[in-house]
Symmetry: C2
Subunit: 407 residues, 2 copies
């Protein structure tokens, strides 16, 4: 009988399935299915012509360096461009506060790997980003969740959690939030809640991990300062910021960056070194070019118009196809790529998902976005990827399936 | 006083320094120093012209996909090309036995992260690859080392280790070896020892992790089958193979692959998903092109001639500058990029290193290559990177420093 090596798995890995719900989609290659599932930036927003010309030049000028190892912490040119980008966000960091990552997924992994022992507590939003749960799960933490409200996570609930843990001398390792157009809910945290969250951080000595993939994709409403910048007004040092080029430039480069207190950046750099070494130079150089010569602000202006149009079409379709008697409600995002819909309590959206696939539309069942105790009547609907002229049809198909289940 | 977050580090990370000796070199930018330190493939071997033309075509044909997310397990085209490459090595694997990695460093990390709890045992060679120690250290294992001999690790010593652990019911998680032109020693494991190692694996039910970065860089002597292929003759399933494009194509793409038993590949794929998601498509596509249209065999023929020439010049220089009375001995590699030198016992090569830097030559002090109890009179000397006409001068400078210390 062949050896069963799986019995040798490390304790943290027993039962680990990665982003298990993602595996639902692996075999959905039917081109008739309109996908409201994936959080993919639309290729319509990619600056492809500039990609080609810049690549051409880089490969002419610098092919030897592109083919070689580079520094773990990131290319000097990209680091400088990121530092300048963050100044436009009123974030003032030095070299010691920055790590270029091989994607924000790595950014999340190095944070929880740095801080969490198995059985330690992470506070997060309910729902929250599934990819973050996927990273955190490798440390086998315990989760304490605060429900999302219209203006962001319930900070009062977070206070209760911290208070009850403080009573038994347990210090949660960090509070993880996605304050801007959260994936999956599309909800943005208000300025008041950001300040209240910082109050908690100082009061209980707990680190905030602020994940900001969609920050530059606001298409309506007023910009709200990042928690990182608000913390700098208080002296700083209480926030680790996680960023990526995936949503505002393109995912294919696999480049992001973490910012934060120097001793944490140093340790995360060591962990990156042990787990992947450097981020490839070509991919970094393209991100540098995006920030320095591709006109990123104009690019983003176009992307915002593009996503706003899609969001408008999508939200109108929701109103048309889900009249009040269906009992379905949904969020109205001011940016990003996602809305969150809540069906009547008796609906299990995993069941709905399978019906929807047959009807030719996909979404992500909400259970993927809960670290524990999922609310099974929820779903994430992404409006970013399908062509505009298919959005209404897609929502219509979804509504048909749901109405059938409600009948 | 600002919060000291470092007191919150996870137990596995307390004191973790990444590749700490690498930090010695970070500030060695003096162009007068000839480096025998870095394990860098020479850019003289890079197919730069083909990089440019293939890149040009890919960006014309497929820019949208290059800018998008791709599958975690790797691009279908690259996976197919790797499966075919391995057939030339008498290794026959299916899709379920293969994971494309974001570099062999990730390949090493996912293996130890999958298998090792803190305090569990890894058996390895003394000396061994510092990057592997750097990956393994994040799991805080215990190491048991077997000394390198002329024909590879002392397998008898490995048997003793396994035997003594078996007596107390401890099962080491895996045996890590670099059988071909090992980094750092340049030593190749004999066929007999490879078979003896497999015997141990079957007898004690312990997995072998075979790291083969240099396998295609043999420049003299006879090819010896990989442990993976020898295991397939016994039915297979006892080896995880770790490969990279870094040494036989170029490091800048950050692409490698792991092969092994399907349930282990599945778990490593999940861990890759949680820690970085996909490997960037451009970088994978360049590796595919390397294997399918850049004439990799002719490229490697040229690289082998190139490295053989450098090795010859280097070894002659060693003979000239280190006559027997210096008490220095060294290995004679048949491939790869490294030789290992042993100075008289009283020499601490870290001290030698600092003198050498002043004299304008760098190497890596041997202590970097021991998971524990380093032999401080050793050093790794790389002949791959400096120009041929500087090799003799570099070795001469090193000899001068050593002679001074011996006086």
């Amino acid at each position: 009988m062949p050896q069963d090596w799986t019995s040798l798995f490390a304790q943290n890995m027993v039962g680990y399935e990665g982003y298990n719900i993602g595996k639902l989609f692996k075999h959905l290659s039917n081109p008739d299915i309109i996908s409201l599932a994936a959080g993919l930036p639309s290729p319509d927003t990619f600056p492809t012509g500039q990609m080609q010309s810049v690549t051409n030049r880089l490969l002419q000028e610098d092919v030897d360096s592109i083919m070689q190892y580079v520094l773990i912490g990131g290319e000097p040119g990209l680091r400088q461009a990121v530092i300048e980008l963050l100044r436009t966000e009123d974030i003032d960091i030095g070299e010691e506060n920055l790590l270029i990552t091989t994607s924000a997924q790595q950014g999340l992994d190095v944070v929880s790997r740095m801080l969490c022992n198995s059985g330690e507590v992470i506070i997060l939003e309910r729902p929250t980003f599934a990819g973050a749960i996927c990273a955190f799960e490798m440390q086998k933490p315990i989760y304490a969740g605060a429900p999302m409200q219209e203006d962001g996570a319930d900070i009062g609930r977070m206070r209760d959690i911290l208070e009850s843990y403080a009573k038994i001398n347990v210090k949660p390792k960090f509070i993880y939030v996605v304050p801007d157009f959260q994936n999956p809910s599309g909800i943005t945290m208000s300025l008041e809640k950001r300040q209240a969250l910082l109050d908690l951080s100082y009061e209980y000595g707990v680190l905030i991990v602020e994940d900001s993939p969609y920050r530059w994709l606001r298409f309506s409403g007023q910009n709200i300062p990042s928690i990182y910048s608000l913390d700098q007004e208080r002296g700083g040092n209480h926030v680790v910021g996680i960023y990526t080029f995936s949503k505002f430039f393109c995912p294919g480069m696999r480049v992001g960056f973490n910012i934060g207190p120097a001793p944490l950046i140093e340790m995360m750099t060591n962990i990156k070194e042990g787990s992947t070494l450097c981020t490839p130079k070509y991919n970094q150089d393209m991100c540098t070019a995006f920030l320095t010569e591709m006109g990123w602000q104009e690019h983003l202006d176009r992307a915002r118009v593009y996503y706003r149009e899609k969001a408008d079409i999508f939200l109108k379709a929701m109103e048309r196809h889900f009249p009040p008697q269906t009992g379905v409600s949904w969020t109205k995002p001011e940016g990003g790529m996602f809305a969150w819909a809540m069906a009547p309590k008796e609906i299990d959206t995993m069941e709905l998902f399978h019906k929807a696939i047959e009807r030719g539309v996909a979404f992500v069942p909400g259970e993927a976005f809960y670290a524990e105790n999922p609310e099974r009547n929820t779903m994430r609907i992404s409006f970013s990827f399908p062509p505009k002229n298919q959005l209404d049809e897609a929502v219509g198909r979804l509504a048909d399936c749901l109405k059938e289940m409600l009948d």
